[in-house]
């Protein structure tokens, strides 16, 4: 009952706040501050932004990093738009490397070469879901992540890890917790930030922001969720890189 009341209040507050908001932005998909920052930093991103760009971001991810049939509305595209908006005057490019149906262990060997070829400042590595579905050996998963993060760093990129989506319909059929925990562990040991997509979406679902339970929604639900994720990720990157988004605004003078 209390959550119901709380979410009603939040929706109310959000909708009144959203009146002034930009139109294509969904009414509210706010994320608590602690999920939008990290103790780890992104030093390369910070210095590139300070130098005026260009900021090249490569998203390496499975099928949940895109929306089939609406690729232009997936979170990487939204991330690019949001960053361009928040970092005026700095060229931002987000590209995507899809690795559908591949576990972390499958992806890891190619990461070094990928970074060498594309030269991104930052790699957002979204992974874990395929491993969880196939219930890959947890130690193997952790080692693969560890190797992957090291390879990305050695190749000269900052790294952000991104975990799974929260999917209430299959929540009890795929056990995610061990994979989420181990990703967090690797992140802690390697001092790499984690964008906790799982926690964020869990929260949205609990607050009634999105009805993630629903079996059929067409692409519209997916589009809205991705739009919110893209914005949240942009805030996360800016906070984590400790970029004062007002600072590089040369145009103000």
């Amino acid at each position: 009952m209390r959550t119901g009341l709380a979410s009603a209040l939040i929706v109310l507050a959000a909708s009144s706040a959203g009146v002034s908001g930009c139109a294509d932005q969904p009414k509210s998909c706010d994320v608590p501050a602690y999920l939008l920052t990290s103790d780890s930093t992104l030093s390369r991103v910070a210095s590139v932004v300070k130098a005026g760009g260009p900021l090249n971001i490569l998203v390496v991810g499975s099928r949940s990093s895109t929306i089939s049939g609406a690729e232009g509305e997936a979170y990487p595209v939204k991330l690019q738009a949001a960053l361009r908006e928040k970092l005026p005057g700095i060229p931002v490019n987000v590209s995507v490397e899809l690795t559908p149906r591949k576990t972390a262990g499958d992806v890891t060997p190619g990461l070094g070469k990928l970074v060498a070829a594309r030269q991104p400042t930052l790699v957002v590595w979204q992974t874990g879901i395929v491993d969880a579905i196939r219930s890959v050996d947890i130690d193997g998963f952790r080692e693969a992540l560890d190797e992957g993060v090291t390879a990305l760093r050695n190749a000269g990129a900052d790294v952000v890890l991104m975990n799974m989506q929260y999917s209430p319909r299959t929540e009890t059929m795929v056990s995610m917790n061990a994979y989420i925990d181990n990703m967090r562990l690797v992140a802690q040991q390697r001092d790499v930030p984690v964008f906790d997509r799982f926690a964020i979406m869990t929260r949205w679902n609990e607050r009634g922001e999105f009805d993630l339970f629903s079996p059929v929604h067409g692409a519209s639900l997916a589009k809205r969720v991705h739009s919110c994720l893209g914005r949240a990720l942009s805030t996360f990157l800016i906070n984590t890189a400790r970029i004062n988004s007002a600072e590089p605004e040369a145009r103000r003078q």
Binding site: I133, R134, D137, I138, R169
Partner: protein, 415 residues
Amino acid sequence: MPPVIDQVVGVRTKASPASVKRDAPVVMIPTPPRERELRLDLLRGFALWLIFIDHLPQNLLTWLTIRNYGFSDATEIFIFISGYTAALVYGRAMRERGFIVATARILRRVWQIYVAHIVLFTIFLAEISYVASSSENPLYTEEMGILDFLKQPDVTIVQALLLKFRPVNMDVLPLYVALMLFFPLVLLVLQRSAGLALALSAGLYGLTWSFGLALPAYPNGVWFFNPFAWQLLFVFGAWCALGGAKRMSRILSSPATLSICAAYLLFAFYTTLTWHVPQLNHFMPHIAEQWMYPIDKTNLDVLRFMHFLALAVLTVRFLPKHWPGLASRWLRPLILCGQHSLQIFCIGVFLAFAGQFILAEYSGGALVHFLISVCGILIMCAAAWVFSWYKGVAGKGGSRAKSADGDADLAGGGA
């Protein structure tokens, strides 16, 4: 843990083969308890409820379950009590009717648990197939890959029958099968020398950690509950039932032990708090984190085991055997559930599936979610009541008079 032994007349066995050692621990073989140890039933019923709630997706009631307040959870309670009661019942059978008969009886129990597991697997398969094939949400194209395993039914189903392929939340019964399968041997050693059995068990636990012993699972990975590690809790439960608890009772009730336990529980509580309130993380020293994590459930992390011990010590201390509340009407449902553990466990798993299904198909608000949890628990209680009633009626039939077999329920543990 609970000194059932207090009420149980200890009988000395004839000197064990190692009779040379005069100080070899006296083996206490309990005769059938006149009155049941209601605390065991109560706590096991409690664990059953928690397992049911934990198997449902996160909801309000989840916050009542102990895994949110410390390292260990209902599984530990369950395995320990199962070991404890198995030792009570089959220990008596072994003493009165010999190794072969007791073994046969244990194996019959193993078979029951195995069949129960397979039935649950079938139900799960039906549910997962339906959910996965009826959903078209483009947000979750990947998650629907859960059905991939059905592309090779020949392999998958055989692997399931071999207990190597187990879907989520179906790990407890296979663990129980494995533990019970070796229980005749364990019991044999326990009755010769309880200390030796416990030492062997701890040794196996140590070997598991140093050499990474594990049972392979399908399609890859290992058993979620590693029997080589979890046997420690089971054997420890059995050891307590056969006199260990009594031997330890002085240490257990000393103020020093109690305060150490309380301090440890507080530490665990604080640590779990940092998981839920990440802002607190700044107050957790980095070194402590590096040392503690990951807290391994698969191999029954020492931190978890200690946490369970601390909980058990405090429970025994503050829940006296003759606590009048045990006879109260309000605790009756819990006790009844605990007395039919295998059945209630299975019903709980089934209800969790059904609950998930309802939530998935008819969208679940917090309220529906809450109602499903409560209804599930009510159904479990009603079923337990029916089982008790039936047992009472069947018992009146008289002639069967196999009191020991009837009590197999007590030992059932049902995981």
